[in-house]
C-alpha cells in the first residue's frame, strides 16, 4: 500500500528521493498513519516540490536579468550625466526658464526620475552584493572578494577624481584625462559588479527581492528619458539658442538621449522577461 502511494508523488520527486524512500519503507513497517502521512506528503510534493535543476536554472536566469538591467542603468547613467547640467550657465538658462517654465519643470523631472532609478538600483542591488560578499568571505572565495575589491576601488577612484576636478578648476587636458579615467573606472567597476553577481551563490527567492526595485528602476529610466526628449523638443521650439549658449551642446544632448534611450530599452526588455517568469520559487 505504502509503495503504491509513492507513485502519487511527482516523477521528478521520485527520481530524486524515490529509491531512498522505498529503502526506508522496507526498514520499518508501514502503518495506517504512515500511509496517510505519505498521501499528504505526495499532495504537498505535487503542490510545492521544485526540482533542483529548475531552481538553479531560474536563479541563473534571474542573475543574468539583474546584470543586464544593471549594465542598462550604467549606460542610462552616462546619458543622464551628459544632460543633467543643462542649466549651466544659469545666466542664460534662468531667463529662458522664466519665459517658458516648462524648461525648468522638465529638467527637474528628468533629474528626479533618474535619481529614483538610482535609488531603485541601490535598494535592489546592494543587498545582493552584500549577500554575495558575505558568503564569499565565509567560504574564503578569493576570486569573488577580489571582484568586490575591484568594484569598490573603481568607485573610490571615481569619487576621488571627481572631487579633485570639482574642487579645483583644472585646464581642459586634465578634464579630458578625468573623463577618460572615469570611463575606464566605470567599465572596470561595472564588469566587476556584473561578474560578482553572476558568480555569487544567490538563491532564487533572494534574487526575486530585487524585482520590485527593478520596476522602479525601469519606470524611473523611462520617465527620465521622456522628460529629456520633451525638454529637447521644447528647447528646439521655444529657444534653440540654448543649445549653443549652454555647456551641454546639441551633440552632447543628442548623445545623452541616445544613451538614455538605449539603456531604458534594455532595462524594459529585461523587466518584461522577469515578469514572464513563473512565480514558483519552491516551498520556501
Amino acid at each position: 500500500m505504502a509503495r503504491w502511494i509513492l507513485r502519487l508523488y511527482p516523477s521528478s520527486w521520485r527520481r530524486r528521493y524515490g529509491d531512498e524512500m522505498a529503502a526506508l519503507l522496507e526498514d520499518r513497517p508501514a502503518t495506517f498513519v504512515t500511509c496517510l502521512d505519505l498521501f499528504i506528503g505526495a499532495l504537498d510534493a505535487r503542490l510545492n516540490y521544485v526540482p533542483p535543476e529548475r531552481t538553479v536554472a531560474m536563479a541563473e536566469r534571474l542573475k543574468a536579468d539583474i546584470v543586464v538591467r544593471f549594465c542598462a542603468f550604467v549606460l542610462f547613467g552616462l546619458g543622464w550625466l551628459l544632460i543633467a547640467r543643462f542649466n549651466d550657465p544659469s545666466a542664460t538658462f534662468v531667463p529662458a526658464a522664466a519665459a517658458h517654465p516648462g524648461l525648468a519643470i522638465l529638467l527637474d523631472l528628468f533629474r528626479l526620475a533618474g535619481i529614483l532609478a538610482a535609488i531603485g538600483i541601490a535598494v535592489g542591488g546592494l543587498p545582493l552584493v552584500a549577500l554575495a560578499v558575505q558568503r564569499a568571505k565565509r567560504r574564503r572565495e578569493g576570486g569573488t572578494l577580489r571582484l568586490f575589491a575591484w568594484a569598490g576601488g573603481s568607485a573610490l577612484g571615481f569619487l576621488l577624481a571627481t572631487l579633485a576636478v570639482a574642487v579645483g578648476h583644472p585646464p581642459l587636458p586634465y578634464v579630458l584625462a578625468y573623463l577618460a579615467l572615469s570611463l575606464i573606472l566605470l567599465i572596470l567597476g561595472s564588469a566587476a559588479v556584473s561578474m560578482l553577481v553572476l558568480r555569487a551563490d544567490l538563491k532564487e527567492r533572494e534574487l526575486r527581492h530585487a524585482h520590485l526595485p527593478a520596476v522602479l528602476v525601469a519606470y524611473g529610466m523611462l520617465s527620465s528619458l521622456l522628460a529629456a526628449i520633451a525638454l529637447g523638443a521644447l528647447v528646439a521650439v521655444t529657444g534653440p539658442g540654448l543649445f549653443t549658449s549652454q555647456d551641454v551642446g546639441p551633440l552632447m544632448f543628442s548623445l545623452g538621449v541616445l544613451l538614455l534611450g538605449f539603456g531604458t530599452l534594455v532595462a524594459l526588455l529585461g523587466g518584461h522577461r522577469v515578469s514572464l517568469t513563473p512565480a514558483g520559487g519552491g516551498p520556501a
Binding site: 531512498e20 526506508l24 502521512d37 505519505l38 506528503g41 504537498d44 533542483p52 565565509r138 567560504r139 520556501a284
Partner: protein, 107 residues
C-alpha cells in the same frame, strides 16, 4: 526558519537539522535519532518533505548513496539557521518559565 515555515513541516525541519547537527545520517537513522532525543516519531512522508525543503534552501546537502540509502549532512547555512532557531526557542522558553513563575505553584 520559523518565520518562513508555518505548516506541518516547521517542527520537522528543526528536528532534522538538529539531528544532522550531530553528524551525517540517512533517513532511517534520522528517524531513530529524532525519536531518541525528542520522543517524536517522524513518518517517512513528513521526513522527506522536510529533507526536500531543507535541501532546496541549501541548509542540508546529500552525500553519495550507500547501497540504497543516501546520507545527508548539515551545511554552514544550516548551522546558522539552526543556531538562530535555537536562540529564538531559548527566548520563548525563558519567557514561558518567567510567566509560569508569576503564576506560582510547582515548576
Amino acid at each position: 526558519m520559523a518565520r518562513q515555515e508555518t505548516g506541518r513541516f516547521s517542527g520537522a525541519l528543526f528536528l532534522v537539522l538538529s539531528s544532522l547537527a550531530g553528524g551525517p545520517k540517512h533517513g532511517y537513522a534520522m528517524i531513530e535519532d529524532i525519536r531518541a532525543f525528542s520522543g517524536t516519531e517522524l513518518e517517512p512522508g513528513t521526513l522527506y518533505g522536510a529533507i526536500a525543503r531543507l535541501e532546496q534552501r541549501g541548509l542540508i546537502e546529500p552525500l553519495p548513496m550507500e547501497e540504497r540509502r543516501r546520507p545527508y549532512r548539515i551545511t554552514p547555512s544550516g548551522v546558522e539557521a539552526l543556531r538562530a532557531q535555537v536562540a529564538t526557542m531559548a527566548q520563548v522558553v525563558e519567557a514561558g518559565q518567567g510567566r509560569l513563575r508569576l503564576l506560582g505553584g510547582p515548576r
